[in-house]
């Protein structure tokens, strides 16, 4: 999940969404055509956005995203100076004439900060999308086709998981070049195995579901089955992973720039930190602002992922499990109750 690329292993999938293939309440029940309706994931899209914003993470992530995207898009308008020009004395203190101060040459830190959002947001979004695409295709193929294809593809994915993302990215960029496009590509390539693994397990379980069997029997073409039946249901947890990996992508890019391997033509927060590195003992401000930028950009994407997770995977209210001892065995413990059945009555064995 982070740059130094902590991989998620088998036992720790953060999101397990139960795909909903029951027909939603709004659709007419009972007709045979119901089996072939698009999955209710889309039906419930209406209340989606509302629920999303209600979660704390959702609201904050939207605000952050808007701010950061705004910074990135409107950088020329927002930035007071050209980030590359020398505008004043070096090492000017912040909160004076220059809001964030000036760097070791005399460039305006605020302008560099604003422009730095561009690289981070582009890398985050683009690498995330690339990972999404690659992950879904490769993971989906592996899960749907199974057999030898599955084994081969997963071994291939494992290859990328064994080499830590940063090391791979560093080596490839060092060997092949550090243009932004390459950076986006290579970061996307280091991250896709996570998505692939989730996509694969989703496809594996979903292809055995009744609505897929029904579609096959009814004679739908495989492309319809895959894209309109399975994929919408499978994609939810993958998207959550993508948002988290977008955060990793931002950290990776920052790390590359910090090491001097970033795109030299664009201002980048990582590069600013690299400059700050030489002057740690003399000037601390250079290091503070870019780091905050990176932190909040990653948080924006991570919060987005958390909010999506909560919306699609609602966690039942937590109840103390060891309260079954008649009284608390220890002070109130939090755990997740079994997911409640309909109508708020605890399911099955409780009553």
């Amino acid at each position: 999940m982070t740059v130094d690329g902590v991989p998620l292993d088998e036992a720790v999938t953060p999101v397990e969404v139960q795909p909903r293939d029951e027909v939603s309440a709004e659709a007419p029940a009972g007709a045979i055509e119901d089996i072939y309706l698009p999955p209710s994931f889309i039906h419930s899209a209406r209340g989606w956005l509302r629920r999303f914003v209600r979660t704390k993470f959702g609201l904050v992530s939207i605000i952050l995203m808007v701010l950061l995207a705004g910074m990135a898009l409107f950088a020329p308008t927002l930035a007071p100076y050209n980030p590359n020009s020398i505008v004043g004395p070096p090492f000017a203190s912040p909160f004076g004439h220059y809001l964030f101060g000036t760097d070791e040459i005399g460039r305006d830190v605020l302008s560099n900060f604003i422009y730095g959002a561009r690289v981070s947001m582009v890398v985050g979004a683009a690498s995330g999308l690339l990972a999404l695409l690659l992950g879904c295709v490769i993971g989906g193929l592996a899960g749907y086709l199974g057999g030898v294809v599955d084994v081969v593809l997963m071994r291939f994915a494992e290859l990328f998981m064994v080499i830590p993302s940063l090391i791979l990215a560093v080596v490839v960029v060092a060997l092949l070049g550090s243009q932004l496009l390459y950076i986006v590509l290579i970061i996307g390539f280091t991250l896709w195995p996570q998505e692939a693994r989730i996509a694969r397990s989703q496809f594996l379980t979903l292809r055995e579901r009744d609505f897929v069997h029904g579609a096959r029997v009814a004679g739908f073409r495989w492309s319809h089955i895959v894209f309109r039946e399975i994929l919408p249901n499978a994609i939810a947890p993958v998207i959550v992973q993508v948002t988290l990996d977008a955060g990793s992508a931002i950290l990776l890019e920052a790390g590359l720039s910090f090491l001097g391997l970033g795109d030299p033509s664009m201002p980048s927060w990582g590069k600013m930190l690299q400059d700050a590195q030489s002057y740690l003992t003399t000037n601390q401000w250079l290091s503070i602002f870019p780091g905050i930028g990176i932190l909040f950009a990653v948080l924006a994407f991570n919060f987005l992922g958390h909010a999506l997770n909560e919306v699609m995977n609602p966690r039942a209210p937590r109840v103390s499990a060891l309260s079954l001892g008649g009284h608390m065995v220890l002070r109130p413990l939090a755990t997740s109750w079994r997911r409640p059945g309909a109508r708020g009555i605890p399911e099955g064995s409780v009553l």
């Binding site: 079954l324 001892g325 109130p332 605890p346």
Partner: protein, 355 residues
């Protein structure tokens, strides 16, 4: 379905002396998502030493909640109301603090559950888990032998070395037997079995029940058997309580209950059992159990009762007969007075029901 010939109506009910388990007026209301779920209302239940008592009801009847209350497993959060008394061997355990609760349970009551797989620790050997339940004083070497003996008593032969295995290496029936052995380890006077055979194959069901019956007789261990399956009840129990929507609606000894069920719910339930009615007559049980958070005043079964009438709109108390049987129905008042006619349909049951 016929009553086993070995069972005859008993005269000596209630058993002399105070019962091993005496539940009085147990009321449990849960608050779930701003609604109050009345899981149990004014439940009275007794189990005497050495007896086998059945508690029958559908899911949502409250039987599991009562079972959990008896062993002290009630959730304390989300508890809206908790009244009544649960006397276990003389001690009221309702509302006890943990330490006393443990002391009260030890050696007196044990419980086995429907899904043995989830109730066993998957990473611990079965023998070790059973040994954990033994009284602390036993020496280590004795423990192994005791565990083996318990397993044998539960129907797992010594040669199979079940104690060395992990739960996932056992079949469903074997797991349930391991659970039974575990429950026996503390030498309880009362064993509560919550749907012990529901999750098992039919053939295995019969075997496990046989084991339970065996233990019941050998150890003079009382059993409170909770199930929705009348067949199981018929095989095992001396007395039966029927629950509906959180209340006891009928209680009687087994023979009486099966031959002369009094509460309409019991009658309809029995009627709907396959083989009960050869002639295809009788009424169907329609509708579904009520939402326990939206109960209205009056008899809770009235909405589905074919005999419902004006008086049923009042809350119905339990009518207790001289022999201890109880029925929660207004029809019972008239019947007690001797008028057979006021039990519509009863004569039909008596005529054609018993096969």
């Amino acid at each position: 379905m016929s009553i086993p010939a070995s069972r005859t109506p008993t005269d000596d009910y209630p058993a002399e002396g105070s019962p091993l388990l005496d539940v009085r007026g147990l009321t449990i209301h849960l608050s779930v998502r701003d609604r109050v779920v009345k899981a149990a209302d004014d439940v009275d239940l007794q189990v005497s030493a050495g007896e086998c008592v059945g508690l029958v009801g559908e899911s949502g009847s409250g039987k599991t909640m009562v079972a959990r209350a008896v062993v002290g497993l009630l959730p304390t959060v989300k508890l809206d109301r908790r009244d009544g008394e649960i006397f276990l061997d003389g001690t009221n355990i309702l509302g006890l603090r943990t330490k006393e609760l443990r002391r009260a349970r030890q050696g007196r009551v044990s419980m086995i559950f429907q899904e043995p797989a989830s109730y066993l620790n998957p990473t611990m050997r079965v023998g070790k888990q059973i040994a954990e339940a033994l009284p602390k004083e036993a020496a280590r070497g004795d423990q192994t032998e005791t565990v083996r003996t318990l397993l044998v008593q539960a129907g797992l032969p010594r040669g199979q070395r079940v104690e060395r295995r992990y739960p996932h290496q056992l079949s469903g029936g074997m797991k349930q037997r391991a659970m039974i052995a575990l429950a026996l380890a503390s030498n309880p006077k009362l064993l509560i079995a919550d749907e012990p055979t529901t999750a098992l194959d039919v053939t295995v069901q019969a075997q496990v029940l046989q084991t339970l019956r065996h233990l019941h007789q050998q150890r003079s261990m009382a059993i409170l058997l909770i199930t929705h399956d009348f067949g199981v009840i018929a095989e095992m129990c001396d007395r039966i309580y029927v629950m509906y929507a959180g209340q006891i609606v009928e209680s009687a000894d087994a023979v009486t209950l099966f031959t002369k069920p009094r509460h309409p719910y019991t009658r309809l339930l029995l009627d709907s059992l396959p083989g009960r009615r050869q002639d295809g007559s009788g009424q169907l049980l329609t509708g579904s159990i009520p939402d326990l958070s939206m109960l209205e005043q009056g008899c809770r079964f009235a909405p589905r009762c074919p005999f419902a009438s004006e008086p049923c709109k009042e809350d119905q108390p339990l009518r207790i007969r001289s022999n201890g049987d109880a029925v929660r129905c207004v029809l019972e008042d008239a019947a007690e007075d001797g008028g057979k006619a006021s039990h519509p349909g009863l004569s039909v049951v008596e005529a054609g029901g018993h096969t």
